[in-house]
């Protein structure tokens, strides 16, 4: 369909010199923290904010902001990778492990299924296999770089799944819905990958 593309003289991709082994294929390292959003920044007052986990059996467990903050915190330092090609190394977060929340949800009668849809204020959704948020791989974070998570980066709280492309780390997250089947979220409906592993370059549906 396309001829050989015109190569721009002297134009180079920003391949990393250092840290090359930490940058997935097709990515370049950035030192700043680009803001990408699919919609306007929501402003839910903390008094009205809650986080829920709902099972396919209809059972729901809910935490208020204070209740979430009272759970054990972790401070993961992780590399993050955006499908728009930038990667940022050693980002520092603070939050509650999704494992902690899933265990409490299970105690509350929520059944475990194979897939998860994370949903956010403003209507954003994203889907992942449940196995990608278990085993120390995901957090609900409310702190970034030693300070409260700024609204433009998803505050008061966002999902953090650093081993997958960053569109899966839903900003302004309000809950997880456990589903029997994979339900494509906001970007997945338009062709982005259901799983999104940057090391296998799973950017779009159909990427192996």
């Amino acid at each position: 369909m396309s001829d050989r593309p015109f190569i721009a003289r002297g134009f180079h991709s920003r391949r990393p010199a250092e840290n090359a082994n930490r940058i997935p294929p097709g990515q370049y390292e950035t030192r700043d923290f680009p803001v990408l959003s699919a919609g306007p920044t929501p402003r839910t007052p903390l008094a009205r904010w809650d986080f829920t986990i709902t099972g396919s059996n209809g059972r729901t467990v809910r935490w208020s902001w204070e209740e979430l903050r009272a759970l054990p915190h972790e401070q993961p330092t992780v590399d993050i990778h955006c499908v728009t090609k930038w990667s940022k190394l050693d980002t520092k977060w603070e939050g509650v492990s999704v494992d902690t929340l899933l265990a409490l949800a299970s105690d509350g009668g929520v059944n475990e299924t194979g897939f998860v849809v994370a949903f956010s204020d403003g209507g954003y959704t994203t889907n992942v296999p449940l196995s990608d948020v278990k085993g120390g791989k995901a957090w609900i974070v409310f702190g970034y770089d030693g300070a409260p998570l700024p609204a433009e980066h998803g505050g008061p709280a966002r999902l953090l799944i650093p081993h997958l492309y960053f569109w899966k780390s839903a900003k302004w997250v309000r809950g997880l819905r456990l589903t029997e089947r994979n339900e494509p979220g906001f970007w997945e409906q338009l062709g982005y990958h259901d799983r999104g592993d940057p090391w296998r370059e799973q950017r779009y549906q159909g990427d192996p």
Binding site: L36, G39, T41, W187, L190, G191, Y204
Partner: protein
């Protein structure tokens, strides 16, 4: 804070890959709230991931477009009507 947003003008190039006419001057009606706005004025939040045109009034996503390596994927479900003015037939 939402200073990152562009508008429908930025979507004109990707939309031109799909539509036979430029639609940025077309008037689009929001399926959710009924507001009619020129497409060029709608807020575009998509940036490098794709086109996400939102209603200036209720912020509902009116049109979304993503280009994958092998396809153009359009979700126009937030648009209930699109009016493009064209040359009058003689």
């Amino acid at each position: 804070m939402d200073e990152m947003r562009l508008d429908g003008n930025a979507a004109a190039g990707p939309l031109a890959e799909l539509f036979a006419r430029d639609i940025t001057a077309a008037v689009a009606t929001c399926a959710k709230c009924g507001r009619a706005t020129p497409v060029g004025s709608l807020f575009d939040y998509g940036q490098t991931m794709g086109v996400v045109l939102r209603c200036n009034g209720c912020e509902a996503a009116m049109l979304r477009l993503v280009r994958t390596p092998g396809s153009l994927r359009l979700d126009p479900s937030g648009l209930s009507l699109l009016i493009v003015s064209v040359e009058q037939e003689a």
